[in-house]
Amino acid sequence: MQELGRLGFSEDQGSLLEVATSFCAKRSPMARVRQLIEDGIGHDPDVWREIVELGWLGIAIPEAYGGAGLQLAEVVPVMEQMGRYMLAGPFYSTTLAAQAILAGGTEDQKRTLLPRLAEGSITTLALCEANGDWDLANITCTATATGSGALRLSGEKRLVSDAASASTIIASVMLEGRPALVLIDRAALGPDALRREVIIDETKRACSLSLDGVEVPAANLLDQDRAGAALHHIHLTANLLAAAEMCGGTQSVIDYTLDYLKTRVQFGQLIGAYQALKHPIVDAYVSYEQTRSHVYSAAHCFGEQGVGEIATRMAKAQADTTLSFAADRAIQFHGGFGFTYDCDAQLYRRRAIWHASQYGDAAWHKAKLADLLL
């Protein structure tokens, strides 16, 4: 009988959960979320500075590289509360980039880059391509060594989160027939290399990135022998953090809908008294609690060989299913108002579509789980 994971909760998780809850509630009320949707870079630089000062970028970075030396488990409550309050910003991108460097960087790169990331240097990953494949090893962009020892890049990357505000982008490419990760200084990019994309989740920002004509020094190549392992680690980390963000979002979309069910009157009674609405919202709530259990189980077991991957894929699959259902029903249960842009339900439905589309949806992860479990 294969172990599927178990709950655990550290004191650090507890205090981070508490602090993140009040911070995100204060800094990201819904009116502010709506304002930032209209904003170019899509997040508040002052809030970002505060997040940096709180040390959240360094939570899972070892002390030797300027971080707090905790685990990704401790990032999860922060991510969850950011999702709950839809706090916008490059936290997810930069945390993920730090994990990429930890898993795939040379010792030198770790020493130079990780302290900078911990101090809030925005960094992101460019992995997705025209094939839209969730298998991160399916790469067509290339790097070729030039005579002068530099690497010349080519191809197009898509859905590069927070690229416009990033100072560094880490792209996956094929080098001599094998996957590799390279650091790109954004200042080295031409003016047309980035194009802001129109994406479903308007609280987030993404760009396509043309690598054609971009040259980087050879020192920007991450340890190619570990590129495959790094991509696997990135894949799982992205899904763990996405599951946490979705879990937080599920809690608020349920709360948001409950408010409506408790105030809207039709046919002389509060609509929340009708079982046609009450029972599905209960199903969404129960499913939310299950998701939260899965997310914290994945967080706790993340580093364990085998179990970590199973628990993480379960968490993402469950989070996708649950947020999609809860937000879909939220739109429906708000009736005519639910069909409008002003109703917040759409924000959560869009969030769910975004995360389902990135790093694998529920069906994909279940197919992976079938291979692992059956």
């Binding site: 009988m1 599927l4 994971g5 178990r6 709950l7 909760f9 998780q13 507890g14 959960l17 508490e18 809690q251 409950l258 069910l261 408790k262 009674q269 509060l270 929340g272 008294a273 009708y274 079982q275 009450k278 029972h279 919202i281 209960v282 199903d283 709530y285 129960v286 609690e289 299950q290 939260r292 259990s293 899965h294 914290y296 189980s297 379960m314 699959a317 469950q318 069906a363 279940k366 197919a367 789980l369 079938a370 479990l373 059956l374």
Partner: protein, 407 residues
């Protein structure tokens, strides 16, 4: 209960206890007595099953692995809860048969420790643990199932007793029970129908009490309808006060649904789990190929794996209070709904896995696993209906946890 906290536990003592329990269950569990054992306490259908399970519970109790955390003065072990948890784990590890006195161990016992008088505790608790006294529950009536507050069975005070007339239904273990927790009406309904209900500890083996077996959809017996015809219950067998029975009944349901702790230990039901279904699926073929190569079937199988893990993780949630601050009772109150619905669905899936053999039933030599899956599916409705239907559970969660208006 007992004022014990984790700090009272010497890890060495606990370790020694756990090892002894492990050895004892390894030695004493008999998984195959030569006849089919019930999956839950609601399915004890034959005298053979009853006597086997009663002896089993008694044996575990005498060995000190049941009621280990109940107070010593009432027959318990007087140990911290962690000890009983170890014993229960050992029992599960070695696949011990279920305890049949569920209504005593899990509902009545904790209720009496919580709200009973010292005299009632002294009189009843030891017999619950030893299985000498089997308990049943008299809440539902033929005309009032989900609408429990509308109970019509009357109890009229006469001198030092109450005279009870009426009928209760779905009395699990009714044939064998010595006592019943009984909800009866001592006053006609006032402005609120819940007024005037009283909670009794009623003797069953007295004049005026008759039980009639009910044949279940499985074709087996397991519970009865109970008839009261001027049966006399001593007046001091009330829990709480006359007219205060609704509150006591609601508290009982919290124990029944696992929303409150203090149960004696062990387990009273074993379910089909996803791993057993997986083992069966490995042997099945579809279109000449192993069934597990069918992508649709694989997807469903993984869904069950995720669900079983959801249930397992949520059972651990009570130990992680920082995760439960927003809605502290939510996970506990969802447990019954999730487990019972999971059980129904996975058994239904298992029948379909049996292919053409899904048509067989218990008793046919060709039935897969003796018809276990089909019988389990049909019996699973006891979980989704009994103790408040899944629909009522959703109302409870919606109203009590999410604060929605009453339906």
């Amino acid at each position: 209960m007992g004022g014990s906290t984790l700090t009272d536990v010497d890890p060495k003592d606990l370790q020694a206890f756990a090892e002894a329990a492990d050895a004892w269950f390894r030695e004493n569990v008999n998984r195959d007595p030569g006849f089919m054992l019930p999956l839950t306490f609601m399915e004890v259908g034959t005298d053979q099953q009853f006597h086997f399970l009663r002896d089993w519970q008694n044996k575990v109790y005498e060995a000190g692995y049941l009621g280990a955390a109940w107070p010593k003065e009432y027959g318990g072990g007087g140990l911290p809860q962690a000890f009983q948890a170890e014993a229960t784990r050992a029992m599960r590890r070695h696949g011990g048969p279920i305890f049949l006195n569920a209504i005593g161990l899990n509902w009545t016992g904790p209720l009496l420790l919580d709200m009973g008088s010292p005299a009632q505790r002294a009189k009843y608790l030891k017999g619950i643990l030893s299985a000498e006294d089997i308990w049943c529950q008299g809440f539902s009536e033929p005309e009032n199932g989900s609408d429990l507050g509308n109970a019509q069975t009357r109890a009229v005070r006469d001198d030092d007793s109450y005279v009870v007339t009426g009928s209760k239904i779905w009395t699990t273990l009714g044939k064998y029970a010595r006592y019943m927790i009984l909800l009866a009406r001592t006053q006609p309904p006032g402005d609120r129908k819940y007024d005037g209900l009283t909670f009794f500890l009623a003797p069953m083996k007295i004049d005026g009490v008759e039980t009639r077996p009910i044949k279940k959809l499985t074709g087996e017996h397991g519970f009865t309808q109970t008839f009261f015809r001027e049966a006399r219950i001593p007046a001091d067998e009330i829990v709480g006060v006359e007219g205060g029975g609704w509150k006591v009944a609601m508290r009982t349901l919290e124990y029944e649904r696992g929303a409150r702790g203090g149960q004696a230990g062990g387990y009273v039901a074993v379910g089909s789990n996803a791993w057993d279904v997986l083992e069966m699926a490995r042997k099945m073929t579809r279109g000449g190929k192993p069934a597990l190569e069918d992508p649709a079937l694989r997807a469903r199988m993984v869904d069950f794996m995720i669900d079983i893990q959801s249930n397992a993780l949520c059972s651990q949630r009570s130990g992680f209070s920082p995760l439960n601050t927003d809605r502290p009772t939510g996970v506990a109150l969802s447990g019954k709904l999730m487990h019972s619905e999971f059980s129904r669905r996975i058994n239904e899936f298992a029948i379909s896995l049996n292919g053409a053999h899904g048509a067989y039933y218990v008793g046919d030599p060709n039935a897969v696993d003796g018809g276990w899956w089909t019988r389990s599916y049909l019996n699973a409705f006891s979980g989704t209906i009994g103790g408040g239907t899944s629909q009522i559970q959703r109302n409870i969660i919606g109203e009590h946890v999410l604060g929605l208006p009453k339906s």
